[in-house]
Symmetry: C2
Subunit: 306 residues, 2 copies
């Protein structure tokens, strides 16, 4: 079962970190951009080529120490068809290295449309996989009949989803924190996630229907951890968005399992950060990423053990 | 201003209908699928080619009687890069005929990611337009800071958005109808939409920040129409989903303006419906679509005047 595979990879690598592959062009070293521009006349083909090379270099340097990666599709989709090609190739390359892939797509639509998304991102279309990520992130605003096609695809193809419960951004509370008679809106969504996942709990105690819970709201995560004992968490917001190891600690269970902490620019663009800039030049961006990933792994372990 | 242009096109054609280009393969005539299969070895390239031809035939037969089209990106994205190419080419073709395009993408993400989506769908990336739709549909679950990059792009590029307020699907109420001290969740979102749009109201009285309000919930639409006098509505749910002309009437203002009613399969796949099947063969699918579009236009006019 996919959530078991994820948990076992986390244990094996002793690292509950997922690297967010959000390849903004400002993160990509000039030498890679220039190489790509010389090869391609079309600017989007050049961008997509540079992105894919950037991602491959990162994966080559990181794959033995991390369990999973999470490409954010917006940073590929913005280059049209060549960008989507780079997204697919990235997922394939990551998979070839034995890592778990989380497609950060935040899709959500009425059932017949959600089926098309579910087949594309988690299943098969015309007999072949399209994006073929192991997990996808899902937006629940359209209601529970909009999520069920994704759950059906998860069961059919042994995949998983992370439903947005409490996101990490400053405005997350605008809708998610609205008070109701049955608790806050995000708590109602959280309870639904538990319900949907109840019949697909793996041998490690966690379901394939998982939740997004932001590191920037540690009190809420702590509460969710207690109320959702069989729900695995994807935790964005560590690092650049302000979440600390003490914050993310709240997402783990008593055994130190049950959560995966995302970091994007803090790892993939580490070579641009003051603490790594002197040590690494732009051609060593993947070495800087590795050092940052090790530092994050150790920081989270310290947080859990504190 | 884009909302004015849309309203003026609706007046000119005397038709507040938007045709949903949701090209499921089951809607596409066999002769088009077979032609595409003979031309392309890759199944996704064949599907994308058939979809684009299908759309072009429809637009050729419909462009003089409709003001706008709304492609649902899921039915293109599901074929990977060739599908995205067909989506872009469809938007371009529609634009070349002088119609308004609504990208039904329902995107929503944290601000830095929402910027990438906004640039791609409504603006420019690396100096060029990517999808270049006139409007995009937006999911507000991540909160108001996730919507503002889209509003910024709207102002910069003279575009518009339709924020999901009350969707048309059976489960729409699961989150949207939750009761709070300040009304239902969708009413809170509706009030926010009014706020965001207050400084961009055009000469026809409607803002570029618009709302989705489903025809399947006529009482709620009626209430929203009263509470949101400067918000233009996109109304899904007419036809196959069960909404009638009496239902959609509630979305219009006293002058019969302020709303655009969507129909997808009821028009693009009309040739498969019992009432058109005898009259039109599969090669005449676009003629059937035109007859269905005229019937819908007249049905809505009857509803408004009733």
């Amino acid at each position: 079962m996919i959530t078991d595979r994820l948990i076992e990879l986390i244990k094996l690598k002793k690292n509950p970190t997922v690297v967010g592959l959000d390849p903004k062009l400002e993160f990509i070293p000039n030498y890679l951009l220039n190489e790509a521009k010389q090869k391609h006349e079309d600017i989007y083909c050049a961008a997509a080529d540079a992105i894919f090379k950037f991602n491959c270099c990162l994966i080559d340097k990181l794959h033995d120490i991390i369990p999973a990666v999470k490409p954010q599709i917006a940073f590929y989709e913005q280059y049209g068809a060549p960008g989507i090609e780079a997204y697919i190739n990235t997922l394939r390359y990551v998979k070839s290295k034995g890592l778990i892939t989380i497609g950060d797509v935040k899709r959500g639509d009425i059932a017949s449309t959600a089926e098309a998304y579910a087949d594309a991102h988690l299943g098969f279309v015309l007999g072949a996989p399209v994006f073929d990520s192991d997990f996808a992130t899902i937006n629940p605003y359209l209601g529970f009949d909009s999520v069920s096609p994704f759950i059906n695809a998860c069961k059919k193809y042994d995949k998983g989803i992370f439903v947005l419960v409490k996101t990490s951004n400053p405005g997350a509370g605008d809708l998610q924190d609205i008070n109701t008679d049955e608790g806050k809106v995000y708590e109602i969504v959280g309870r639904k996630v538990c319900e949907w996942g109840a019949d697909s709990i793996g041998k490690n105690g966690y379901s394939r229907v998982c939740a997004v819970a932001g590191a920037t709201y540690p009190h809420q995560i702590k509460k969710l951890r207690n109320e959702m004992p069989s729900t695995f968490f994807l935790v964005p917001g560590y690092g650049a968005q302000g979440g600390t190891s003490a914050d993310v600690k709240q997402a783990f269970d008593a055994k130190g399992s049950g959560a995966l902490i995302n970091n994007s620019r803090g790892i993939i663009a580490a070579y641009l950060l003051p603490q790594y800039k002197k040590k690494y030049n732009e051609k060593e961006f993947a070495d800087a990423a590795r050092e940052a990933a090790v530092a994050m792994r150790d920081d989270i372990a310290d947080g859990i053990n504190a």
